[in-house]
């Protein structure tokens, strides 16, 4: 009978929420709590470096702020734990927010971190779910700050609906098997999402703006990138998506705009780039030391300075739309009768010697490209799309809409100039 009472008491304790105020010794309370307990933190500032090594749920009211006692230590360390959930905290530290080590089934959500060096570190853990986190770093150089989320040697990671600003890499994933990165936003950082030595990973519906590189994928296998918005990675080394020694990757349904290079493929095999809009980039697709297992198919190239450039290995092009294609579609099947040749002497030079980039779209190069277009029509070997599309469904329509201030300025200038001219000519 005693055992039954004891069991019932223990179960009640697990399901009862324990209210906590800021004056409580939180670390002691965590240690004293039974496995599976829930702590409800009331608003206030909690100072310390807390360690969790058991199943626990921490739920915070609005206005719960965590500060570290030791700035070099993370505010919360979850180590050797299973089934941990932390929700609704605000972290103020110049160090690290949370570290998760050797743990399973950890869920972090609705956490805000400001002015931190790094947000969340994950080591040798699995089934980690991180959602609705906001991490704002500091103004120091990328090399002197940490990542928004960094995961090492782990498995089954979900990173959803988070925001990262001014960090080194928004999401850094190294040696992880199975990661879903979805609906996050990374801005003003080095890399938006960085996959290294990982397998079976996907990045879907994320937004990467004004980083050095939007998606950096290195030495990783089986990657899916889908519906990400990758824009304005236009710095000196800016790239929308960089692939280095990647095996098997699908890049589909993206809008990639205003980057220095939209997609850079280096030493990579099994790339399938399909149904993306690559618009207004300086170079849309760059391929270096890659092989013919790579295919660029059914994409839209609009307003890029250079559509495709490569070394002598080239890259396969099929059924893409190119806004500078000058062929015609006689049988109206949506495919041009002539091949499209993306090969430009200048584009190739830029690959070989980056110093040539100074002349990008210079008057002399524009003329050279026009000559190339005429002379390359017969080319059949490198960067040739034999079935170029001739229709672009999302083409912008010209609409009649009055812009009053510009109209007035325009009319004043025109009438003024014509009046001056008339007066000068007649007098």
């Amino acid at each position: 009978m005693r055992i039954v009472y004891s069991l019932i008491f223990s179960l009640l304790f697990v399901f009862i929420t324990i209210p906590v105020c800021a004056t409580t010794d939180l670390q002691q309370l965590i240690e004293d709590s039974e496995e599976g307990a829930t702590l409800q933190l009331s608003s206030g500032t909690y100072e310390g470096n807390f360690s969790i090594n058991k199943s626990i749920t921490i739920v915070a009211d609005e206005g719960v702020i965590f500060k570290p006692k030791e700035i070099d230590e993370p505010i919360i360390t979850i180590i050797g734990a299973k089934d941990v959930s932390i929700q609704g905290l605000q972290f103020v530290t110049q160090g690290t927010g949370v570290e998760i080590k050797d743990s399973e089934k950890v869920q972090l959500s609705d956490i805000t971190m400001t002015n931190v060096n790094s947000g969340i570190g994950i080591y040798r853990s699995k089934n980690i779910d991180i959602q609705n986190i906001s991490v704002t770093g500091n103004d120091r150089h990328y090399s002197k700050k940490g990542n928004g989320i960094a995961a090492f040697n782990s498995a089954n990671l979900i990173v959803k609906n988070n925001k990262f600003y001014k960090v080194q890499d928004g999401i850094y994933i190294e040696n992880v098997k199975g990661a879903i990165v979805e609906n996050n936003k990374v801005e003003d950082s080095r890399y938006g999402t960085h996959f290294m030595y990982s397998e079976d990973v996907q990045a879907v519906r994320n937004e990467y703006v004004k980083n050095v590189t939007g998606l950096m994928i290195m030495m990783t296998k089986n990657v899916t990138l889908e519906q990400n918005d990758v824009s304005y990675q236009d710095g000196f080394n800016g790239t929308g998506i960089t692939l280095y020694e990647v095996e098997n990757i699908d890049i589909k349904d993206h809008i990639i705009s205003g980057n220095r290079v939209a997609i850079s493929i280096q030493k990579t095999t099994g790339v399938h780039i399909i149904n993306n809009i690559l618009q207004m980039n300086q170079t849309a697709v760059e391929s270096i030391k890659s092989d013919h297992t790579n295919l660029v198919e059914k994409n839209y190239f609009v307003g890029n300075l250079v559509n495709v450039r490569s070394d002598m290995n080239g890259i396969d092009l099929k059924e893409n739309y190119y806004d500078d294609y000058s062929g015609i579609d006689i049988d109206e099947d949506g495919v041009g009768e002539d091949s499209y040749v993306a090969l430009q002497s200048f584009g190739q030079w830029m690959v070989r010697k980056p110093v040539y980039q100074y002349y990008v779209e210079a008057p002399s190069v524009v003329l050279l490209n026009e000559i190339d277009k005429q002379t390359n029509k017969a080319a059949k070997q490198l960067l040739v799309d034999e079935t170029p599309k001739t229709t672009f469904e999302t083409e912008k329509n010209i609409q009649f809409e009055i812009h009053l201030s510009q109209l007035i300025v325009g009319l004043v200038l025109v009438i003024g100039c014509l009046a001056i001219w008339r007066r000068s000519v007649l007098s």
């Binding site: 824009s231 304005y232 236009d234 710095g235 000196f236 080394n237 800016g238 705009s257 205003g258 220095r260 618009q279 207004m280 300086q282 609009v302 307003g303 890029n304 300075l305 030079w349 010697k353 980056p354 110093v355 040539y356 980039q357 100074y358 002349y359 990008v360 779209e361 210079a362 008057p363 002399s364 190069v365 524009v366 003329l367 050279l368 083409e395 912008k396 010209i398 609409q399 009649f400 809409e401 009055i402 812009h403 009053l404 201030s405 510009q406 109209l407 300025v409 325009g410 009319l411 004043v412 200038l413 025109v414 003024g416 100039c417 014509l418 001056i420 001219w421 000068s424 000519v425 007098s427």
Partner: protein, 270 residues
């Protein structure tokens, strides 16, 4: 006297059929690019194909028109004896050169403003056009520098035809040939040599100089690539900015001074 000469020259320029045709051509091309590109391409900031088209339009056409009209105007004065007549008036040669220069600059500023006016009027009916102010500055600098060079070429030419051919050669040299020469050399020399050569040419070619100026003004220097980081960093410093303005002003003044010397000698030779 100086003011009267400027007004007289300006009126003559505006009455010139050649200048009127140039104005029509410039406006036509300008509108074509705006309407075809700006209204058909997505609105994306940065150095895109449409900004490159605008920049190249200015770099191609303004030097060509300024050089040909300006140099032929001066050569025509010398050829027709108008310059010799003017020398009988109490007016220094530099005043004549300055008068020509100001009239030429005003005429082309007039054309550019008219072109912008027409573009804005058209754009005003289609939701407005995005037109960065940097283009206006580059256009004015192009007019100032190439008007100055045009007057020098006019003073060097023996007659109007000679002035025209000189202008075309210089235009092709600055716009195309120098770049092609550097690019060709680049295929046989190492990258660091090509980089130094490019930087050298940049300082002695006003077209490259103003193109570089556009990137500096618009904050899009990254377009030029990381190889030129040090150069860009220098020209983004205060000293660099002063040097940039100084060199631009020198490009305006030196050809005028050389033209003055040449025209003074012309008087002596006569």
């Amino acid at each position: 006297m100086q003011g009267k000469l400027i007004v007289l020259e300006w009126k003559q320029m505006l009455r010139s059929r050649w200048l009127q045709l140039v104005a029509i051509l410039f406006i036509f091309v300008f509108i074509a690019i705006v309407m075809i590109q700006q209204l058909a391409l997505p609105d994306i900031d940065g150095f895109t194909r449409q900004t490159a088209s605008f920049l190249n339009l200015l770099l191609f056409l303004l030097p060509l028109f300024t050089l040909t009209i300006g140099s032929m105007s001066v050569a025509g004065d010398v050829e027709s004896g108008w310059f010799s007549l003017l020398k009988t008036y109490p007016m220094k040669t530099f005043q004549y050169v300055l008068g020509k220069f100001v009239a030429l600059v005003l005429s082309f500023i007039f054309i550019v403003l008219l072109a912008f006016g027409v573009v804005f009027t058209f754009g005003g009916f289609f939701g407005g056009v995005h037109f960065p102010y940097e283009f206006l500055i580059v256009a004015f600098c192009l007019i100032l520098i190439f008007s100055s060079i045009a007057i020098l070429l006019g003073s060097l030419a023996k007659n109007r035809l000679h002035a025209l051919s000189l202008s075309l050669v210089i235009w092709a040299l600055l716009l195309l040939l120098l770049s092609y020469a550097v690019m060709a050399i680049g295929t046989i020399v190492p990258g660091h040599v090509l980089q130094k050569l490019t930087i050298g040419i940049l300082h002695i070619n006003p077209v490259d100089w103003l193109r570089f100026g556009y990137f500096l003004l618009s904050g899009q220097t990254a377009v030029l690539g990381p190889t030129y980081f040090d150069l860009i960093e220098f020209y983004q410093s205060v000293l660099g900015k002063i040097m940039f303005v100084g060199l631009t002003v020198l490009w305006m003044i030196i050809p005028l001074l050389l033209a003055t010397i040449k025209l003074k000698k012309f008087g002596v030779e006569k």
